[in-house]
């Protein structure tokens, strides 16, 4: 064994030991091995396999599910450009090309010296300050041509990332409008004391009375969820905070966890008190790895303040603590049952439901999974009461909503509005002009045209997890939809046939239209695929994968019509180009060596 391999083995063993070789920690172990060794070598797989007493195959199955884990070397510097449409609009593709040219590499490939690879990744949540990028999973925002040149220099000079200028890693909160949630000063422990004073059952009543609905997008009643979990049969209960904020265009959880972490954690602790949980998890998306140290510090401080740990806030027998689990690049893990699979160290495949997590969640025990913003709101409700909270917003959608505003507007960032705000009011507030469309709640949400701007952000009208992407009249809505379709193709978990194959077929058809090969035949095919995805898929990802296309077809039909350049079917591939290898090999270029485009 070489010294390098020996050292690597020692580090892998150290990581495994820190996680007590628990199979449920497999994903965390692999993430740390990736971080310290730059990839997960066959030797590392072997060590983890033996220590966790798991078959190799299980480790390979998990590692290959997550985009940020590599079983092949991907370079010592792994650069991933955020590939959301808002990044494109801010020039990310040009910057990627610039970097590839500077570094003499091809997108997706590793440089010959094994130093660096450059590729794209799904939205990194920096849409208000894009283009965004991850270097070895550390987030960078606000990229420019100069910044990219500087990064290239740092990479070629092999400067460790820890020694890069700290300004490169600056991430702004950009809070533009505050309402009850962001205005509230979270005095650590205040909400807990209020909950203790009331008692668990009465606190649950406050949450129910607040009519708080989940902020992850689905809008299920938080109080009902807590109540079902509290009443479910089980040996132990868990609180899970879903911070896998993967919906492109959403970044409000990033801001909450950066500047309001105490509120979120206190909300989780209140939940633990109500349902009787002793353990909680915060599932942080891998793209927000840069927040980890600060969050761990908050947890440590709160333990010191006796707001986590044993006998919390002096209340005997109330023990609760929180672990942070990091994702590793898989949007589907935002789906609560996939998130739980991932927490258990598995592939993030959505479970068959029912049963639901409230009865059969983490390790099959009753589990509450709520969004970051939901827990922050719970903290507020525990302190101020459900009746007070329900006075805000609309009768069916109480309280406020954080909107992640990005795209074509003067002031992108976080806007907290009471539910019921119209789309137009938000557009006015953020300085949007000549708006052609707004994509609400990300690719899986809804695309609105100007005649719908008087509609309201509320569960009874337009439900949202918070993304609010603005497109002005310069933008091509077909290309917006195509970007979203490609996103779903990349993020499909592959479990069910219609989504696994259907998202690829849809992406190919959109590429065909983009390439000027579209005809009414392809348009009809797209419409058929939409139906298959919507009706047959296993989970919400597949169901909503067709939304961007359905909505833009309905509302921006000219953007498609201009792509249907042929009256009759033409092949998806370029026939003349399909002869290029044969031409090259035979040295022929006569007319018979070419095929004219079908017309």
């Amino acid at each position: 064994m070489s010294t390098a391999t020996g050292m690597q083995a020692a580090r892998v063993n150290e990581i495994v030991a820190r996680y007590q070789a628990k199979p449920a920690s497999l994903l965390q172990i692999l993430r740390e091995v990736q971080e310290c060794c730059d990839w997960i070598s066959p030797e590392s797989v072997g060590i983890v396999s033996r220590a966790l007493q798991l078959p190799r195959l299980k480790i390979e199955a998990v590692a290959t599910f997550y985009s940020f884990l590599y079983l092949q070397p991907r370079g010592r510097y792994r650069v991933l450009f955020s590939d959301n449409i808002t990044d494109h609009m801010a020039g990310s593709r040009e910057l990627l090309e610039q970097m590839c040219k500077r570094l003499w590499i091809e997108k997706g490939k590793v440089s010959e010296d094994g130093l660096v690879s450059v590729d794209t990744t799904s939205c990194t949540g920096m849409c208000d300050q894009g283009p965004g990028m991850l270097v070895n999973n550390i987030a960078l925002a606000g990229l420019s041509a100069e910044r990219v040149d500087a990064i290239c220099d740092l990479i070629t000079d092999q400067v460790p990332i820890a020694a890069w200028p700290s300004a490169f890693f600056a991430v702004e909160d950009n809070i533009r409008r505050r309402d009850i949630l962001l205005k509230a000063e979270a005095v650590p422990g205040a909400a807990l004391q209020a909950a203790f004073a009331r008692g668990a059952e009465a606190t649950l009543r406050e949450i129910l009375q607040s009519k708080l609905r989940g902020r992850g997008g689905a809008g299920f009643s938080a109080g009902t969820k807590w109540e079902s979990c509290r009443n479910a049969q089980g040996d132990t209960r868990y609180v899970v905070c879903n911070a896998d904020e993967g919906e492109p265009g959403t970044f409000k959880d990033r801001v909450l966890l950066h500047s309001h972490a105490d509120a979120v954690i206190e909300g989780m602790t209140v939940c633990a008190y109500v349902i009787g949980a002793r353990r909680g998890f915060l599932y942080l998306r891998g793209e927000y790895r840069y927040l980890l140290d600060a969050l761990l510090a908050v947890l440590a401080r709160r333990r010191g303040q006796r707001l986590l740990g044993e006998d919390i806030a002096g209340r005997e027998g109330f023990d609760f603590d929180i672990e942070i689990h990091l994702g590793a690049g898989a949007y589907v893990c935002g789906e609560e049952s996939a998130l739980i699979e991932s927490l258990e160290g598995k592939r993030g495949t959505p479970r068959n439901r029912p049963p639901y997590p409230v009865t059969h969640g983490y390790l099959d025990q009753p589990t509450v999974v709520n969004n970051v913003e939901t827990f922050a709101a719970c903290r507020l409700i525990a302190e101020r009461g459900g009746e007070w909270y329900a006075r805000h917003g609309t009768p069916e959608s109480s309280g406020t909503k954080l909107l992640s505003v990005s795209g074509d507007c003067g002031r992108p960032g976080i806007y907290e509005f009471p539910f019921g705000v119209t789309v137009r009011e938000v557009l006015n507030e953020c300085g949007a002009r000549n708006t052609q469309a707004v994509q609400i709640s990300g690719p899986s949400g809804i695309c609105l045209a100007p005649d719908e701007f008087s509609r309201r952000i509320a569960f009874e009208d337009i439900p949202t997890a918070g993304a609010f992407m603005i497109f002005d009249r310069r933008r091509d809505m077909f290309e917006v939809a195509r970007n979203f379709v490609d996103f779903f193709k990349h993020e499909s978990c592959g479990f069910c046939t219609p989504c696994r194959v259907g998202t690829s077929l849809l992406s190919n058809l959109m590429a065909k239209l983009h390439g000027g090969r579209g005809s009414p035949y392809d348009f009809a095919e797209i419409e058929k695929l939409n139906i298959y995805l919507q009706t047959l898929s296993h989970c919400g990802l597949g169901h909503s994968a067709c939304n961007p296309v359905l909505h833009t077809i309905a509302k921006f039909r000219p953007a498609y019509a201009s792509r249907l350049v042929h009256h009759e079917f033409v092949p998806a591939f370029d026939l003349d180009r399909a002869l290029s290898t044969a031409r090259q090999m035979t040295g022929r270029d006569d007319s018979g060596a070419h095929l004219k485009e079908d017309t």
Binding site: L57, K58, F65, N352, G494, R500, V501, T535, H538, A572
Partner: protein, 237 residues
């Protein structure tokens, strides 16, 4: 058996507590097309070929619990059209060249395509580049034909108490892998007596030296269509 019943295309189907729609239908001798379901293995609902319309919504019948009074539509043109599309997706996703496949005539993918009156794969083919693993002395593993149903995965894990097979990758890159350091079947603890050796619905896991011992035209689904041989009772192979 309880007295609980649901309606399947107008027929009354009795079911026992805990049964899924497909299990109850098969027990009653009704065929619902399916690929990733095997009566002896835990259903997981991935292929979606068994989708039925339940009170208006399409659901995988192999994982949807039967409920008293539910109205299930299966043998309708609309449902069959959707199932056919799913089977066509499976055909273009892999490399399925029936005339040169030893499983032809015994293949459930092929027989289900017949059942659904599929005359072409309809979509553009992916023509993926997949390997063949001939390392095992008794079995051939042809990934070109794998439809990712995971029956071998479940059989190996739940019946054989091994973990010879697993699914790796994600999305369209999902693939079957083998548990050995080399990744080859010959280096795994796979045995001819494994349940996993007997459940592959297609020609991905093939016994060697059996080629053409039954002539084409006289095989399982040449003799009787899948709706007759797979509609209930023990699996016929």
């Amino acid at each position: 058996m309880s007295d609980s019943c649901f309606s399947l295309d107008g027929a009354s189907i009795a079911f026992a507590a805990g049964q899924t729609i497909l299990q109850a239908a098969m027990d009653a001798g009704h065929y619902i097309p399916h690929l990733c379901f095997h009566p002896e293995l835990k259903p997981h609902g991935s292929c979606k070929v068994c989708s039925v319309r339940v009170d208006g919504n399409m659901m995988a019948s192999c994982t949807t619990p039967a409920r008293q009074g539910m109205k299930v539509e299966s043998a309708t043109t609309e449902v069959d059209d959707q199932r056919r599309a799913v089977v066509q997706m499976l055909f273009v996703e892999g490399n399925h060249f029936c005339p040169s496949c030893e499983q032809s005539g015994r293949c459930k993918l092929q027989a289900t395509a017949y059942e659904l009156q599929m005359t072409s794969p309809h979509f553009d083919h992916f023509f993926p580049d997949r390997a063949v693993d001939a390392s095992h002395p008794d079995f051939l593993l042809d990934f070109n034909r794998c439809i990712l149903c995971s029956l071998c995965v479940r059989a190996s894990r739940d019946v054989d108490q091994k973990a010879v097979f697993g699914l790796a990758g994600r999305g369209i890159g999902t693939r079957l892998i083998v548990n050995s350091e080399s990744g080859r079947l010959g280096d795994s603890d796979f045995a001819a007596t494994d349940k996993a050796a007997q459940v592959c619905p297609v020609g991905a896991i093939l016994r060697k030296r059996q080629g053409f011992n039954v002539p084409i035209g006289q095989r399982t689904y040449d003799v009787a269509p899948i709706r007759e041989s797979d509609r209930g009772g023990p699996e016929k192979r």
